[in-house]
Symmetry: C2
Subunit: 602 residues, 2 copies
């Protein structure tokens, strides 16, 4: 038996020797496209071998891939046989059931004040009496019509200027950013903007109309860096090892964005060169990977970012395929583990503007929490780990089709709900939260997380496990004592973060007026379950609000509004930061926070 | 017999069939390096075939060149035999006697006010209590020591920042340009600057210390674009034909600069990454080629530049290998045929600041002339053609070793002086000017340029020619009636330019207080000869000043002084421009200007 792991869906299981990767995928319920049914004729089941040994390329592989692709270990899943434990990356185009990602968020309730404006101009052709340069001619037209003073023009615009003006009969649409012309288009061009929220695990991409602020298209995808580490620490280690590694991590992100942008643009029938501005938000490590900034110092005390301030970088300088003169704006970071995505979340929820005490939580592999109490904002970052993404959980998986997302337990009867409604394949984060809350309420576990005797609890290899789905021949789905411990670590980290913020502000949990829960995972969890296990404070349910992908919304706001961009800068400089690892009695407090009840703060 | 032409030296002559390119070069006195004496073992006689058919590559060629180089028609001169008329480019490294170019000019008499400053800083390492980002840490240090407010930092500096600060024990030297950090170096780095004057035929390159303003190294080289056309009009036509052609012309310039910079840096033991700023001056067409701006509109009425204003462009955006965050500053152009090099000449001579009437002339393939009379500056551009570079002249050549540069004629006795003092090979521009002035004074030609009977005048193929060097077996050197006509066209263009400016100002030539002659050619001419043939006005010789490469000096001034840069902008916007082709009775006036006397203006 070999252990076969499929990324980015995060399914891993032992498979017998002698079956193809496609058959392994079928056993693990990973839905790889295969039109020919494994006859190696459709060439659609393309996968990439990340690690481990497989059979050598067949003539079918050689026909399906370029030499370069073969070198990068691309293979057809149907022709390839594992020769040991292997890890496989399934590219998005080979997955028939896409991973559930989160692009929806709060509505954009601002008047657009676009950082890049579209200005229509009509120039007078030059003459022998007035042989004015094309560049001066354009600035004169802008001055006459819009009172825009002469400024700069991107070199790529200048390289295109003279022929374009003549081809378009001296009519054009200018994309003006501050004092710089970043693009020049046909008359009446509607300029577009790109917003991206790059998470550790997931990416959300949006295309907006810069003028109206309307979201024209959006898509969620997996972060392809996952094959180089589930968590940030392993990716930081990988990137620090060599310049090529750092470049690889950057290229993966940029390529993924480029492909998604190209595909979304096709959807709305627009050329990517019409995108004249991009806003990218991410946590600090991903922010640094994306710009190929050094990350080594993020991973060692005293944990400092290379860059904290907001940045404006020419898209071409990082290889992003939008208008060649366009800029990428990156919102500011707060600290090494409180990044621009957190700033974007605060921006989107408006929690920096509220009175009273408001708590904002973006739950993920890393969970950032911000408390704003009477205008004093403070944030912490908690290493909640990848348990919510299904990693390190015996039958865990990401939130893809077949994942158990909700569980109810009454006595010995288990009710489950899967994503897509089909047969269950594994448990995703929200399902795990539910089942453990139900186990606690039904006394299958006690407040310390210890599993008690129960008709659905059995022992396997000396370890207790709770049987969620009993399928002796086709693989049961269970929750082990170890899985309970994994979730306890995650919830303890989050709870300790909340308690630290409350302590710092000198308040207790009942003083919290509102809890905003952001992020893909936060959207799908049952808040009651989270309160039950003591991950979130015991407050009336109406004080909780699940807002979806708020970081993505923040990115979109910053894309279309100059004043929202300034607001983000203010948020980042106002936001205080507490390094959780530096609080006194950290270990003791952490242990206490792992308790399955939220004991009221003394 | 095949016609073999060697560039960039500009030698062309018929050679018998069956001899190698190396032997052709020897017959034409083109000094190609050949250590092994043509045994094809030293592999030093590398040349590039620009046009025409030659023998196929030999095994020696295949050993000496990469596949790419062979595709680009690189061959060893000793193994290659012409199969028809061919044109050969001899790369600088294969030339043993370099072309005479002009890098010397006026001294830099300004206090440096460098646009890029070097600032030494010592940072405090971050701590868990103050985990400040490296970027903020650097700005704080700059603020504390120099009161520099936080600004921008080039992405390449940011990519290098964290590791550099730690490796250098938190000490660094910052290169600050306005509000942007463009480079970061070891403590006490002395930042360098690059100035380049790119002419139609020749390039002058200088490396300066940005802080002291001292010129540390300089070199002259040929413009490699010559193989795509002697004059600008043919290069404009070539570049307009396709994007690849335009790119090729740009690459030639950038590669030549990169190679020269690398070699000069080696000479002064500095890494090119220490060069943090560059200033480039050129005529408008070369300026456009260098930036790959469109040029088609330069070549057709109403002759407009794409860009007139001064530009600041990241060096990496045009592939220039200096500090990756450094900028290239391009001085402003005046018109399609009055470029930034003319502005640089005015800047260097200070003629914009003088009282009275001063005339500035930069003689070359294109001659720009500026008249400043009581603060009113006006320029013209004259298509003087490549005769001064020896092109289209029967025995013409560029100013390289063996070129006749000075001639005296007394009766039937001819005295010649060659560059380098060796045997005569051909005539360069200053020699041609001399010989025609001497012919006029000795009545060998009359005021219309017609050749009279004279013991040294003979007839060949129905055309009269003046014998300068009589070597029946080894090739004589003569000046033909057609050569006289070529020079007449060139001098008529310049004279008409001067007259047009005088007419426009309402003055006559004796009102001119000073004539400044700039440029390589202008340095070496005998002013008296130029006055004799009526190319320059008949003024007392002490009113003329030959200042060498003033455009190169202007580029250096703009490199090290912010106020000189602003002065250049003022010059360009003050300088009026008269399009010579648009003056009334152009043809009549041009014909009159070709007369070999300067008739006093009515």
């Amino acid at each position: 038996m070999y252990t076969i792991e499929f990324e980015p869906v995060g399914r891993r299981r032992k498979c017998p020797k002698g079956i193809s990767l496609l058959d392994c995928a079928r056993r693990l319920n990973v839905d790889i496209v295969s039109i020919c049914g494994g006859m190696s004729t459709c060439k659609r089941c393309k996968v990439q071998i990340v690690s481990g040994l497989v059979s050598p390329p067949t003539p079918e592989d050689k026909a399906a891939f370029t030499k370069d692709e073969l070198k990068q270990n691309f293979r057809l899943a149907c022709t390839t046989f594992p020769r040991g434990d292997v890890k496989i990356l399934v590219p998005p185009e080979s997955l028939s059931a896409p991973q559930r990602t989160q692009v929806e968020g709060l509505d954009l309730k601002v008047e657009p004040e676009p950082p890049v404006c579209g200005l229509q101009v009509q120039l007078s052709p030059p003459s022998l009496d007035a042989p004015v340069s094309d560049e001066q001619n354009l600035w004169s037209a802008l001055k006459n019509k819009y009172e825009v003073p002469a400024g700069r023009m991107d070199i790529t615009v200048q390289q295109d200027l003279s022929s374009r003006l003549r081809n378009q009969k001296w009519k054009a649409c200018v994309a003006l950013r501050d004092k710089e012309i970043v693009a020049l288009g046909a008359s009446r061009t509607r300029w577009l903007g790109l917003a991206a929220d790059i998470g550790t695990t997931k990416i959300a991409v949006y295309i907006l109309d810069m003028d109206s602020g309307e979201t024209l298209a959006s898509r969620g995808l997996m972060n392809p860096q996952i094959s180089y580490g589930e968590d940030l620490v392993s990716r930081i280690y990988f990137a620090s090892k060599s310049g090529e590694n750092a470049e690889k991590l950057q290229r993966l992100l940029v390529d993924a964005l480029n492909q998604t942008v190209a595909s979304l643009c096709k959807e709305i029938k627009a050329d990517p060169s019409r995108i004249v501005e991009a806003v990218v938000v991410a946590n600090t490590a991903i922010h640094h990977f994306f710009l190929r900034l050094p990350v080594h110092q993020l991973g060692v005390a005293p944990y400092v970012p290379a860059v904290r301030s907001a940045l404006d970088i020419k898209a071409r300088d990082i290889g992003l395929h939008i208008a060649p003169g366009g800029y990428v704006h990156l919102l500011p970071n707060v600290a090494a583990y409180v990044g621009a995505d957190h700033v974007a979340m605060i921006l989107a929820t408006g929690m920096d503007q509220t009175d009273g005490a408001i708590l904002g939580i973006d739950i993920g592999t890393n969970t950032e929490i911000c408390l704003n109490r009477r205008g004093k904002m403070t944030s912490v970052s908690c290493a909640s780990g990848p348990a919510f993404e299904g990693a390190h959980i015996q039958h865990g998986m990401r939130a893809a089709a077949g994942a158990i997302e909700h569980v109810r337990l009454s006595g010995e009867r288990v009710e489950i709900q899967t994503i897509g409604g089909g047969p269950s394949v594994g448990i995703c984060g929200s399902g795990l939260l539910d089942v453990i809350a139900q186990m606690l309420q039904n006394k299958v576990i006690d407040a310390t997380g210890k599993m008690n005797a129960h008709p659905l609890v059995r022992s396997r290899d000396g370890q207790k496990e709770f049987v969620l789905v009993d399928r002796p021949e086709d693989g049961s789905i269970t929750v082990s004592q170890k899985d309970v411990r994994e979730l306890q670590l995650a919830k303890a980290a989050i709870r300790l973060g909340i308690e630290t913020l409350l302590d710092d502000a000198g308040i207790v949990e009942k003083d919290i007026d509102k809890v905003v829960i952001a992020g893909a995972f936060g959207t799908f969890i049952d808040v009651e379950s989270a309160v039950t296990i003591g991950m979130l404070p015991p407050l009336p349910l109406e004080r909780f609000e699940q807002v979806g992908n708020a970081a993505g919304t923040g990115a979109r706001l910053a894309l279309i509004s100059k004043s929202r961009r300034q607001a983000a800068d203010r948020i980042a400089s106002r936001d205080g930061y507490i390094e959780l690892a530096s609080i006194p009695d950290f270990n003791l407090k952490f242990a206490r926070a792992s308790s399955m009840t939220w004991s009221l703060a003394e």
